[in-house]
């Protein structure tokens, strides 16, 4: 009897392993519930007022952890590059069903509104909940709607290349200008007064960098959705 092929044995052993691990983790976590600990976030909240940005999460993502965000953008670019290499994009849509007239008209009506909402979320990322990552994903969802409803629609490759190159280069350039002017990478060299807090033009380079992140995330997510829908296979 081949134990490796026996489904009940593997199910039982997987269940036993998961149950023992969950008991161990729960034992550790429930015995050490953090209640009153000094957190790095409290220090960040104190420092946050000096940058003149109303949304503290944006300041942490773009300014205090700005170098880390640059690395995450690079990870996103590498994932998008790998998908583009694996699934060579074809002009033929892989969806079986035809889209009817109502879906086509409604998607043409909705697409500009979705793009506008994504740009709003991106631009107001330093004042309200939202930001570059969320706005970019909203724009990619609008592109996904058009790709599903219009089989002949294709994301223009040259435009995406231009946007992505522009966004990546300008992120690094802004960081280097901060290095030259203020002697630290991604330093806030534009005026950022506390009295301007809550205005659209406030926070120095922080909203500019978040818009750049939004452009990069939106273009890369659009290319990922297009590559996954328009595959060149027959199954």
């Amino acid at each position: 009897m081949n134990l490796k092929r026996d489904i009940s044995t593997s199910t039982f052993s997987g269940f036993a392993l998961s149950a023992s691990l969950i008991l161990t983790f729960l034992n550790v976590l429930l015995n050490n519930i953090p209640t009153n600990i000094t957190r790095v976030g409290d220090q960040f909240l104190k420092l946050n007022g000096s940058e003149g940005v109303a949304n503290a999460v944006t300041t942490v993502v773009v300014y205090f952890r700005g170098f880390d965000t640059l690395g995450e953008i690079a990870v996103l670019f590498i994932a998008s590059l790998g998908i583009g290499l694996m699934l060579d994009s074809n002009t033929r849509c892989n969806l079986k069903a035809d889209s009817n007239f109502m879906l086509k008209t409604a998607s043409q009506l909705l697409f500009p509104i979705i793009i506008l909402f994504g740009i709003y979320v991106m631009v107001y990322g330093h004042l309200s909940p939202g930001g570059g990552f969320q706005g970019g994903v909203i724009i990619a969802s609008g592109v996904l709607l058009l790709l599903i409803s219009h089989k002949e629609f294709e994301v223009p490759h040259s435009v995406i290349t231009l946007l992505e190159t522009f966004a990546g280069i300008s992120y690094v350039l802004i960081g280097l200008i901060g290095l030259v002017v203020l002697d630290k990478f991604l330093g806030n060299f534009l005026p950022h007064n506390i009295s301007d807090m809550g205005m659209l033009l406030s926070g120095g380079i922080i909203p500019i960098i978040y818009i750049i992140v939004g452009i990069k995330v939106g273009s890369e997510m659009s290319m990922i959705t297009q590559n996954l829908i328009k595959r060149s296979d027959d199954v």
Binding site: S13, F15, S18, L30, I33, A56, E72, D233
Partner: protein
């Protein structure tokens, strides 16, 4: 009847048990399923359990979202912004890496016609 659940310790215990249960549901699927796409789905479920744990553990009673509005006097009595910022980026990165893994699975199926991990024996001699 819900006052009992409104204590901070009880909320943390509920968050820990729920998110770790979700994590180990994903781990169980990862260990037992044979289909490649189902394995990537299990990894996504494990990820969502971790996100819930990170966000839930920073819960403070009566604390506000870390965004300054007109009614507040400064960045006081607010939630910790650091885990929120980390999870915000981790969700987008997780989605991109999941799409990369799915594209590997699609390409493998296109080349060999196999999706079961027991049949993937190309590197075994």
């Amino acid at each position: 009847m819900f006052e009992f659940f409104n204590q901070p310790e009880i909320i943390k215990i509920v968050v820990i048990i729920g998110s770790m249960t979700l994590f180990f549901v994903g781990l169980f699927g990862l260990l037992t399923q044979k289909h490649l796409i189902k394995i990537f789905m299990s990894v996504a479920i494990m990820e969502s359990g971790l996100f819930l744990l990170f966000i839930g553990l920073i819960y403070k009673q009566n604390a506000l979202a870390p965004i300054l509005t007109d009614n507040q006097q400064g960045f006081i009595n607010m939630n910790d912004p650091v885990p929120q910022a980390m999870i915000l980026t981790a969700i987008v990165i997780g989605m991109a890496v999941l799409a990369l893994g799915v594209s590997f699975a699609i390409e493998y199926h296109k080349l060999t016609g196999k999706t079961d991990i027991d049949e993937i024996t190309s590197l075994r001699n």
